[in-house]
């Protein structure tokens, strides 16, 4: 079928290519790429990296007995560690096997590697291998000549040094200091001087048992405690050094603060990783599994990519901890992993090693990833205009990318285009940026209309000064207008008195909140409030919260407005209120309280008036505040609540004619009672759920059998 020419060419090409694996013409990403939006929902994104080549174990020099565990790339040479065979395999840029390091020449220890687990290549003459079962870190050159051995010192008086030294990972910083992770060592990362002298540990991750485990272990007897799983201190899973000489470490399991699974340690051992993204750089948001990071790859401009064994995904973050893109996944298709253990970069492409299949997967960046990288580079060197242009391209490829909006907004801030920046920050859900742009806009607005604003202010002041006088004059002249409504009430007496009563009751609320002792007293004794007015107040409180959720300014409103549910909002006000009333009434009846349920209901409703008084205007004002003024906003919110709480207590005291002391402990009982009631409620609901399940099961079974 082939023409002679083509045939010859084909054959010659075959010869030239030798064992060259077919380039992945059929590979496509077998995963969906995504990113997280501000609300923690995964949103689709274009692929950032796609598998370019799958290197099967037989192609990269692994045997069926191999167990490839670590990977490093230096100068276009790939170094693979085969733990079981005790070999380091060297591949060239085209992934052909060019050599192996298996026998070591010189040195005091064994001349073979025994279960090596980690590798760090400084250059061809200094390759550090964590030779696990030989209890040493050995530095060799590319031919296997031993240059240095770091083992347990002979004079082992140094009690800090582990008795059983089994190094698993190794890293070297630009100054030549050696860092190692060893099995069973929980004190942190072991550090050695360039001469191999042990200098101690840095960066032990803090153990954080969760609160229930903690309480449980306090309560348990000694035997019970012994039967429990030990709180194993946390071990790092990998360590590497970034271009600035900082250590980057990952933690794959253990009772650690979930935010701290990826860490960047300064020389003092302090975690200095910036976590300012929407979510901490710790893998999937709200995932059903516990992320377990196996390796991290520091990249340019503070970016880093970390691989999560449990999801098989590679997460890439920028220096601020923003999630840039995700690729990979768990599975058996080409381009997915079963147990990814190491990641390395080679000419802009990423290599991921899977120890379950002994396969290497080469990922190539798409246009999308390259644009993001270019934008970060431009931003880091201060070329904001260029960055904005690149980010516009990114948005063309992915309009879901909130980060891009934020970055464009930032660039626009630099260019003082406040209005456009504001829009971009809103799309990017960047409240901080939004606030900055808004402040400038507000300033501009005020500057532009300074004269007018002063004028309006003066007018308002004048009004304020004049109105009382006018009012007084009006009252004297319009005194005769008072009976007019009563004339109306003659026409439809019941309706109007009802309305009047309600309005009077509501108006009395103003008195109550400022003079609570007197107010509550009269509420009860003189029936100044009614069930109707109390219910109206309650309705208004509920409405306040709905309005607040919907109309609070963007800066102070971190909720997804499109997913607002009115029933939830209403019940979040009503349920605690009703609980309070019921428990209050129930408890005070047995504690010689003088109030009826109606009294309690009315007093409690009136006590909530401050929430209306404070929250309504505050919602309006919040639209014109910037983040820095948030303190005022939150203070006002808190004052409103505090006021209402005090009124509740005072209300209880007055209604039941208690002393202050008795009120205090009654209140405590009521709160406890509310909690108990809620607990019962939850119990009841879960019981109902069981019953429902039971009935539906019976139904299913009957349906199946007939």
């Amino acid at each position: 079928m082939l023409q002679p020419d083509a045939k010859r060419l084909f054959l010659s090409m075959l010869l030239i290519c030798g064992c060259l694996a077919p380039s992945c013409s059929s590979c496509a990403a077998p995963y969906s790429s995504y990113t997280y939006n501000f609300w923690g929902n995964a949103v689709p994104a274009p692929h950032a990296y796609v598998p370019a080549r799958i290197l099967k174990s037989s192609e990269i020099g692994a045997t069926p007995t191999s167990s490839l565990v670590d990977l490093d790339v230096h100068d276009d040479v790939v170094y693979l560690v085969d733990a079981r065979n005790g070999v380091v395999i060297l591949l060239d840029h085209d992934f052909r096997v060019i050599g192996k390091i298996s026998r070591l020449v010189g040195g005091q220890g064994s001349s073979a590697l025994s279960n090596p687990h980690g590798i760090c290549v400084v250059d061809e003459d200094r390759i550090l291998i964590a030779d696990r079962d030989n209890s040493r870190i050995v530095a060799v050159d590319i031919h296997g000549n031993v240059k240095q051995e770091i083992a347990r010192p002979k004079n082992a008086e140094d009690w800090l040094f582990p008795a059983d030294f089994r190094p698993e990972k190794v890293a070297v910083d630009p100054a030549g200091r050696v860092y190692a992770l060893a099995a069973g060592v929980y004190d942190g990362i072991m550090t050695f001087t360039p001469d191999g002298e042990f200098r101690g540990y840095i960066g032990a991750p803090r153990v954080r048992p969760n609160i229930i485990e903690y309480i449980w272990s306090r309560l348990a007897t000694r035997e019970q405690r012994e039967r429990q799983v030990l709180f194993l201190p946390v071990e790092h899973s990998n360590v590497t050094v970034d271009s600035r000489g900082m250590l980057m470490a990952t933690v794959s399991a253990g009772a650690i603060n979930p935010e701290e699974v990826v860490r960047r340690l300064n020389p003092a051992g302090t975690d200095v990783l910036i976590r300012r993204g929407f979510f901490p750089p710790a893998g999937d948001v709200g995932a059903a599994y516990v992320p377990a990071f196996n390796d991290v790859l520091p990249r340019s401009y503070g970016m880093y990519s970390a691989i999560d064994r449990n999801s098989g995904r590679v997460f890439t973050y920028d220096a601020n901890g923003n999630l840039l893109y995700v690729f990979g996944g768990h599975g058996q298709l080409d381009g997915l992993f079963q147990n990814p253990v190491a990641i390395a970069e080679m000419n802009g492409r990423l290599l991921v090693l899977d120890s379950a299949t002994n396969q290497l997967t080469l990922f190539a960046p798409t246009e999308y990833a390259l644009l993001i990288h270019r934008a970060i580079a431009a931003y880091n060197v201060g070329r904001y205009k260029e960055m904005e242009a690149i980010m516009q391209e990114v948005l063309r490829l992915n309009s879901n990318y909130e980060l891009a909006y934020g970055w464009i907004g930032r660039a626009l801030l630099m260019q003082e285009e406040w209005a456009r920046a504001l829009e971009m920050f809103r799309l990017g859900n960047d409240r901080e940026g939004y606030s900055r742009a808004f402040r400038e806009l507000r300033r501009q607005y005020i500057e532009d209309r300074f004269g007018a604003i002063v004028l309006v202010f003066c007018a308002a002041l004048l009004c304020w000064a004049l109105v009382p006088r006018l009012k007084r004059r009006l009252l004297t002249t319009g005194g005769s207008s008072e009976p007019a409504p009563s004339g109306d009430s003659m026409a439809s007496p019941t309706k109007t008195t009802w309305l009047r009563e309600l309005l009077n009751g509501l108006a009395y609320g103003w008195h109550v909140i400022f003079h609570p002792l007197d107010g509550f007293e009269k509420l009860k004794s003189e029936k100044r409030g009614s069930i109707a007015s109390a219910s109206t107040i309650l309705l208004m409180v509920t409405l306040t919260y709905v309005v607040m959720r919907q109309y609070t300014g963007f800066v102070f409103n971190p909720r997804d407005l499109d997913r607002l549910n009115i029933l939830l909002e209403i019940s979040s006000v009503l349920v605690p209120f009703v609980l309070w009333c019921v428990v209050n009434w129930a408890l005070t009846t047995i504690m010689l309280g003088k109030g009826t349920f109606g009294d309690v209901y009315i007093a409690s409703s009136y006590a909530l008036i401050p929430l209306i008084v404070v929250n309504f205007p505050l919602t309006f004002v919040s639209n014109y505040l910037v983040l820095e003024e948030g303190a005022f906003y939150y203070l006002a919110l808190t004052l409103g609540v505090a006021w209402a709480v005090i009124l509740l207590v005072v209300g209880t005291m007055v209604t039941h004619e208690y002393t202050l002391v008795k009120t205090v402990y009654t209140t405590i009982f009521i709160v406890a009672g509310m909690m108990f009631a809620m607990f019962l409620g939850v119990l009841f609901v879960s019981l109902l759920d069981r019953v429902y399940l039971f009935v539906s099961d019976i139904y299913t079974e009957i349906a199946l059998r007939t």
Binding site: P30, A42, P44, H47, L333, R396, N400, D562
Partner: protein, 925 residues
């Protein structure tokens, strides 16, 4: 025809149950030149092929007359060559059929026809027109005791004895059986004493006698009575010992007639001999059963685990056709259990046909072809230790079983769209087409080194689809979930038919297979005529009009239509592309109906007022028509996304059902893990209601003067309706779908669908989301454009939109390689409008960002593919790793380089990740 029945030369195989008579005319039989075919006899032949059968083990072989190459149903010399298979796997190598069944305890067990049928001689070979039919009975039907009647009517036994040719056999019978009868005692009767039994009470005024003997001696009578009582104690489960024998236990039948009763004290070899004699006499165990029942003796129990499976091999022209009439497959249902309590059924679940037909040995070179996605090759021999299996259902999973919508392409697994597979050995190839039963088929592969030394690919057919119902533990929280199997109440009744083609020489390869398949489809009217050549660069354009957005106004959720492109704006999107010289555009209009992309039940096509008036739509249709641009408005026909109050869709009657009788409500899993609980649901429309819906839609489309119709799911979703009283199985559903599509296409609609399962091919004029590659299973070494080789030139197809989802660069290269039409998805408004909606997968569609690029891409692809759009592909080959050449009928070649670095092919230098038109085919020679 060479199969006749001639007494002299016929081979007589005597089974106790089944008599196999196979006659072969010696004059007609081809003296097989090769020793390979020893034991085989010719059963059919024509000018292309000869079909052989080995009657002793029912292996078949097919010989190609032209090359004399022989294909065996079971690998020859397997006993010598195979070193891996052991135990059951070794026997399985001898089989032609594998039957998997579920035990009453829901355990899946697989048996083969060699172990369970051929070895027991439970098969019957019948010659049929141009071939042969073999009926297997799998599972040993009767144990030996069924051939040894304890009581038997006198005439029955005598008639059996008369069947025996050998006098010694007859003697054996008479030696071990004693004739006896119950007769009333005469006045001269002298009572006989029997140990432990009160004879007077048990027999009353009857006694036992041999009717042939007059005046029996007391001792002879005593012997007969003892024998009778012994039999009652031994063969009645309700009688423990002699003391408990009562009058009721004495067979009353003996009063009316004489019967032979087996003697006591038989030796084991006597038993064996007797069984043999009865088998020879042709005793039907059912007779034993009947007789035993008549005499109150425990009848022998028929094995409940028996499957009757017929298979027919016929030659049709150059093809071997294997047919299993699934309606004739039979097994026992609701057999009373051994203790007579609960009934039990061993349910035949699936059948695997000719697993080792053409199997390749461990070291053989070649490949297996599987139709995964666009097609995949499994290269042979495999590297040591690299062996695996593969099994995928044809046409994807049934959503009414899995409860999930099939996901096609875009990083998910590709479907098996074509019911074909193949095997290539060095100089020859085998290609199989599943002609019927395809909706229940799956393709399975086993590579050498795993369980035996042979690699093979074969089809499996699920005769009884099955699903699981889980019963949650309701009492306490963590009771383990109990699952029970539920089965389709009616097994598949149609045919299973596979056509095997035998390819040789240059045709033996995937390109040749594709050619033969294409020819087969054309000949059987399953592929359309050639497409007309487009003028100018072709383009397929998705334009999304409206989507819904869940909004909240003061906390009250509202569903709003978000306009992405109004009807008028469609014109300007299309116009801007036409201005750039892209003239041959087909527009798939998405989300144009009320309710956007996930519109309500479309029994009445409503125009969405947020997108424009009916008049605007009319204008748009006219505009597109004037500019001869194809318009395919998308409508969901198979799934119902919104169940309105006032439409004619009633969930109870119109939605399909799951096997657990519940309405088939499918959850759409949320991105990206597909793990989180679904937030949106849709119903599968029952195939029953499909016709009504399609009529209504066609009517409305006609009224709007639209003559194109797009419904993506049509080509990739095939679902049953397991509603109890009107079950529509998957094959029937396929039939319904096809007839509806034929109706549409006959009434002048041009259709667009997605995925492209084989059954929709005759009715489509455009295909989207065509399989671009095989799924990336590690067992598949190479993905080949088999699908494209078949349909190119007969169908315009496209893959995924270039601007969404997949790597656009790769899509472009693949489109150029395989002649796919460029495909983009655009909206007039900015794509950021889809942010924070369910349709955020439309993340890069703004037409102002993309128009220029779309035009550029179309021109680039058309530059190499111009003139080939209406041509078939005649060759596809790999020139070097990552470099492929496709040759079209006209001789145009296209070379695509997937490598990042440039390559030189002859005089031609092709940049990295680029493509070029190669020299005309044959010009260099």
């Amino acid at each position: 025809m060479c199969v006749t029945r001639k007494g002299g030369s016929s081979v007589l195989l005597l089974g106790a149950l089944i008599l196999i008579i196979l006659g072969l005319d010696a004059a007609c039989a081809q003296p097989s030149s090769q020793g390979e075919l020893e034991g085989f006899d010719v059963v059919a032949e024509n000018e292309h092929l000869v079909l052989y059968l080995n009657a002793a083990n029912t292996e078949i072989a097919v010989q190609d007359r032209e090359t004399n190459a022989v294909w065996y149903s079971n690998p020859p010399h397997r006993n010598v060559r195979d070193t891996i298979a052991r135990g059951e796997m070794k026997e399985r190598l001898n089989s032609q059929l594998l039957v998997s069944y579920y035990t009453p305890g829901d355990r899946l067990i697989t048996i083969n026809n060699y172990t369970e049928s051929v070895r027991y001689n439970q098969y019957q070979i019948t010659p049929i027109d141009t071939g042969v039919r073999i009926e297997y009975l799998l599972g040993k039907q009767w144990e030996d005791d069924a051939y040894l009647p304890v009581f038997i009517d006198q005439d029955c036994l005598e008639q059996l004895a008369s069947q025996l040719a050998d006098e010694r056999d007859r003697q054996l019978l008479s030696k071990h059986y004693a004739l006896m009868q119950l007769v009333e005692t005469g006045p001269d009767y002298e009572p006989v004493q029997v140990a432990q039994v009160d004879a007077a009470q048990v027999f009353g005024n009857y006694t036992v006698t041999d009717p042939r003997v007059q005046g029996m001696s007391s001792s002879a009578r005593q012997k007969l009575i003892n024998s009778l009582l012994d039999k009652i104690v031994t063969y009645r489960s309700d009688v423990k010992n002699r003391q408990s024998i009562a009058a009721a236990h004495i067979p009353q039948r003996l009063k009316e007639r004489a019967a032979y009763v087996l003697n006591s004290g038989l030796l084991p070899w006597d038993v064996q001999d007797l069984v043999e004699v009865f088998r020879r006499a042709g005793l039907d165990p059912r007779l034993t059963e009947e007789q035993h029942r008549n005499y109150g003796i425990d009848p022998p129990r028929e094995n409940p685990l028996v499957f009757r499976v017929p298979i027919e091999y016929t030659l049709e022209g150059d093809a071997l056709v294997v047919r299993i009439p699934a309606g004739e497959i039979d097994w026992r249902v609701d057999v009373p259990g051994p203790s007579g309590g609960e009934t039990e059924t061993y349910l035949l679940y699936k059948i695997q046909v000719l697993e080792y037909f053409g199997a390749m040995f461990l070291t053989d070179e070649g490949y297996l072809f599987v139709p995964d996605g666009s097609g995949g090759l499994i290269n042979l021999p495999r590297a040591p230790g690299d062996h695996g299996t593969y099994e995928r259902p044809v046409y994807g999973e049934d959503p009414a079983i899995t409860g999930m919508k099939p996901q096609v392409g875009g990083g998910f697994l590709e479907q098996v769209h074509l019911p074909v597979y193949g095997i290539k050995a060095q100089e020859r190839a085998l290609f199989a087409i599943i002609e019927d039963g395809d909706a229940f088929a799956s393709i399975s592969v086993n590579t050498a080194g795993r369980v035996n030394s042979y690699s093979s690919v074969s089809p499996q057919f699920t005769v009884v689809p099955k699903s699981e119902a889980s019963l949650q533990g309701s009492v306490s929280h963590r009771v383990r979930q109990q699952t029970v199997n539920i089965y389709q109440p009616r097994p598949y009744q149609g045919d299973i038919r596979i056509r095997y083609l035998f390819l040789t020489g240059s045709e033996a390869g995937y390109v040749g297979m594709a050619g033969r398949y294409k020819q087969y489809l054309i000949d059987s009217g399953q592929l359309r005529d050639r497409v007309p050549a487009p003028e100018g660069p072709p383009l397929l354009l998705d334009i999304t009009c409206g989507i819904t957005r869940r909004k909240s106004i003061l906390g009250i959720p509202v569903l709003q239509t978000e306009r992405l492109t109004s009807y008028r704006q469609v014109k300007s999107v299309v116009g801007s592309l036409m201005n750039q010289g892209i003239s041959h555009i087909d527009v798939r209009l998405v989300g144009w109906m009320g309710g956007g992309i996930e519109h309500g039940f479309p029994d009445r096509v409503r125009v969405d007022s947020a997108l424009g008036s009916r008049e605007d739509l009319r204008e748009l249709i006219d505009y597109l028509h004037e500019n001869s641009i194809g318009l395919y408005p998308e409508v969901n026909l198979l799934n119902v996304y919104r169940n309105g109050l006032f439409d004619s869709f009633i969930v109870w009657t119109d939605a399909a059902r799951f096997l657990n009788k519940k309405v088939a409500r499918i959850g759409q899993a949320r991105f990206p893990d597909l793990l989180t609980s679904p937030v949106r649901y849709h119903y599968i429309l029952s195939p029953h209601s499909l016709g009504r819906l399609i009529d209504a839609v066609a009517e409305d489309y006609r009224r709007l003067q639209i003559c194109g119709l797009a419904s993506t799911d049509l080509g990739m979703q095939l679902s049953s309706d397991f509603r109890v009283n009107r079950l529509i199985d998957r094959q029937q559903s396929l039939g319904t779908l096809c007839s509806e599509l034929r109706k549409l296409s006959d009434s002048g609609f041009s259709l667009l669908a997605g995925g492209g399962n084989a059954y929709v091919l005759p009715y489509l004029s455009r295909l989207i989301q065509a399989p671009a590659r095989a799924s990336g299973f590690s067992i598949i070494d190479e993905s080949i454009p088999f699908y494209q080789l078949v349909v190119h030139g007969h169908l315009f197809f496209s893959y995924q939109p270039f601007n969404l989802g997949e790597d656009p660069k790769w899509l472009m290269l693949r489109s150029a390689e395989t002649g796919a039409v460029p495909y983009y998805s655009l909206t007039y408004e900015d794509a950021s409008l889809t942010k924070n909606t369910e349709f955020d997968y439309l993340f890069a569609t703004s037409h102002k960002d993309w128009a220029a690029r779309v035009a550029d891409c179309c021109r680039r692809i058309n530059a190499v593919l111009e003139g080939t759009w209406d041509q078939g592909i005649i060759n596809h080959e790999q020139l070097q790793p990552g470099v492929y050449r496709t040759t079209f009928e006209s001789g145009t070649t296209v070379i695509v380089n997937y490598n990042p670095q440039p390559v030189q092919i002859g005089e031609l230098v092709i940049d990295g990740e680029s493509f070029a038109r190669g020299p005309l085919w044959g010009v260099e020679e």
